[in-house]
Subunit: 247 residues, 2 copies
Amino acid sequence: MMTAPHSPNDMMIRKLESIFKLTSEEEQALQELSIQTRDIGTNQDIVRVGDQPSQCFLIVEGFTCVHKVSAEGKRQIIAIHVPGDVPDLQSLHLQVLDINISSITPCKLGFIKHTDLYQLCERYPRLAAALWRETLVHSSIFREWLLNIGQRDAYSRVAHLICEIMLRLKAVGLADGQSFEMPVTQAELADATGITPVHANRVLQALRSDGLISTHKHQVTLPDWEKIQQAGEFDPLYLHIKQEVPA
Amino acid sequence: MMTAPHSPNDMMIRKLESIFKLTSEEEQALQELSIQTRDIGTNQDIVRVGDQPSQCFLIVEGFTCVHKVSAEGKRQIIAIHVPGDVPDLQSLHLQVLDINISSITPCKLGFIKHTDLYQLCERYPRLAAALWRETLVHSSIFREWLLNIGQRDAYSRVAHLICEIMLRLKAVGLADGQSFEMPVTQAELADATGITPVHANRVLQALRSDGLISTHKHQVTLPDWEKIQQAGEFDPLYLHIKQEVPA
DNA sequence: CGGGGTGTTGACGCATGTCAAGTATGGTGG
DNA sequence: CCACCATACTTGACATGCGTCAACACCCCG
């Protein structure tokens, strides 16, 4: 398991390193990026529909979610973001935000000015490509969620989401073996999978009694990875996680 | 209503022009892009999950859809693409495709080599940004579809989808006033909204009897734009269509 | 020790799925 | 020009997964 990075800049660098080998010049530029950190509490809005941000934020610690609310007041969670993610990278090229982003745990965030990112992209096309790629991976996750919500039953949806979070946390060193911290309430889980909180509760009970998950507080353990993967029809291809070639 | 563009290159140029004013140098470079056109019939696979394409394709004529199939064999249509779109732009930076793309009408496609696009992006960062932006808009559409499928009832979902297609066709000059050609079968409509074909049929009947749509073959007319927009809770913000400032 | 957020449970209803059988429709070959 | 077929669309009867409502239990934090 990797050690935690020390600065937001290190986090960005480590993330991009997982895509391709950075040149020392590129690494230098990232090291010099000005990133303002800020702490926020649980359930705080970070950005809102209609905003026109002049900066992006990197999650250093904590979880956030992207969500939209229908005219009827129903909330869909569109994405869950974990440390290392830049949830509103899209705002670089889309002026007006079409989503809300809120914290679902206390968070430490690192803010980066758009103007700095523009410069970075212009000078280092490979970094531009890497950031572009980052947005494409999130796009791919949206597509899988569409399949999940559109075609699978509640049981599979929840299993699928749990598998996804497991792997994404593993990729940033926040899960080891079978367990990880998943600080998501049942209501949030429900909004992310398009079911009701009551039904989410029943599905979780079914998963527990089928031996696919066990939970203690928000610590989740997956005793049988194969089985929950099957239950969720989970195939990690869509996460586009580069295979680490062991040294 | 605009006149139809004459070449794939003109189409690309017109599309990018709608985002920002191209310099003559940029326009020149686009004009010189090598694009191979090919015609295909209805229901042909263009690319498939697992492919590693070395080119992207532009839709010159016709409609395509992006879709994924669950382990149970259920198909979710993730996106519908119309002339002017480049449905697999993502393959530029994600090696392995996580989706299938098929024609839903006969199509004329223009294929562009990745290597040519890489060069273009490196030389003209503004064009890179415009293409990036293009993928971000599609991403935004995925998010709205998630809200649509996750939180709205079947009636609203279908109304919403119809509104979206209407506006996107209008943006490329393929819809005028209230009518447009929507060559999508009820089965496809069902797969795109996460309902069954039988239910899609009943919803369409309801929309007709409520006076929100009228159809003749695949020609759809929306007699009351306000009303169907309300029924679908449709707010076009997420399409990020630049407002044309009338001269 | 009190109170708000979270999790749990049961009874009941409904939107949507499923199954099964039709009826257009449009293209093709004789 | 008609017979035929495949594909698309319709319709009705019935089944069910999930939603809704309404309590209640838990538990951390102040």
